[in-house]
Amino acid sequence: MSLSDFLQRAMSKWMRDGGPNDDIALTSRIRIARNITDVPFPMLQTDSHADAVIDRVRRALASPDVRRFGNFELVRCSELSALDRQVLVEKHLISKDLADEVKHGAVALRDDEVVNLMINEEDHIRIQCIMPGLRLEEAWQLANELDDALEKHIPYAFHDRYGYLTACPTNVGTGIRASVMMHLPGLVLSGQINRMLSAVSQVGLTVRGMYGEGSESAGNLFQVSNQVTLGETEEEIIGNLSSIVNQLMDHERAARRMLLQENREGLEDRVCRSFGILAYARKMDSKETLQRLSDVRLGIDLGIIKGVSAGILKELMVMTQPAFLQKYYNQELSPATRDSRRATLIRERLRLDDTEVQ
């Protein structure tokens, strides 16, 4: 299979499509945690509890109320190979915890991969909706309607005062986690990022590296999400996050303009060096790959590099991860081999576009 065929199949449609402001806000994600009343949370589940949860979700998915949301395929984690589970993690469709939950876990994926359910992860059900660009309201609307449809068939654990009951007290209340993945090279290069991030954390939001809790930021990618889930309405949570993301985007754009004005040569040198390395290197580790891709994407956004599609960052961010590489080359690869295959794949990918460097 050619690389372009593989890309067509491997990338979710939403990953290829663009969205509003996706030069900086790459994706918007909504996650809602729900649990079934009278069933222990997954941590204390027996096999029969886990089966019962999966069965209830399966029946709900088969109902006309839910079927109008599209075709969901429900698969138990045990039916997927370790490599396929890892591919789902790299696509951000399931969490690493669910991939490891082989015995009780399951996932229900909609064909277009915009919305899916994680079953028996930390909570019984987690509805997830991912869209390109800054589209939090839209993603919330879809997740919310699907939640209503599921609720007709599944009795949710709910408390007058504490709201939706979740396994972890950090999710109780609305059970909603809204997040936006942001590419902020301008703020990083101009040394403003730490000031921005500490300001963000003071208004009840958290910022993490792109691979979730505890991970460092690689490739100037930051995930901004709400911290508090109890005491605010869903609309307030999303409105608050949107407004902060909009402000961060303004600051990022201003920082990029300033860098171009004050040190165009330095910026062009950085971008073109990174492009040269991606285009010619024979070994690339994941961390350097992300950093170089970030530089190139900045170069594309600022018109320094022409002819390379802006989607390349998103595409290669996914494609150059360990499981995808092994899927593409259709064999198990040691970390050292992966570094050389990763470099080869990036060179091939860059040749797909008719590049021109200014």
């Binding site: 222990p40 204390l44 007709k152 709201g163 972890c168 007290p169 005491g231 309405t233 050292a336």
Partner: protein, 170 residues
Amino acid sequence: MMCEECHARPATVHFTKIVGGEKSEYHLCEQCARDKGDVFAKAAQAFDFNHLLSGLLNMESSPGIAAPPPANLRCDVCGLTYHQFTQMGRFGCPHCYESFASRLEPLLRRIQSNGQHRGKVPLRAGEQVKKRKVLDRLRIELQQAIAAERFERAAELRDQIRSLEQEFEQ
């Protein structure tokens, strides 16, 4: 020392794994350690979010929590003890919220800004919430009717309460 997996990068992650009394040592670079997943996950776990949360739960001496929880405090549905909850930072079942209610307020004040849910209400539970409120009101009215010796009204109220209670049981 070089990474024993890729032999290309310096080893920066060193740890010892003991399984069934058998000890193995690992010297890996950061990337190979991450690729090895399971091994690294255990090493990184000490710093992860759950541990931070259980650290918060264990701050019994700090202001806001008056007395240590009774040793036998446990959820009467799933059997999880409060002590286990503080270790794991996870509840065992939805009922734990009621079982540990006396300890929950200071915790929620720490990790959430406000203790009262204001968001969405599920349709089905929403109906129940309404019915429960009606039931509470009828019970108060019944007491008032008995105190005022309005026994006919009291009998009517009693019947309404019974039929609502039956609906709940169903």
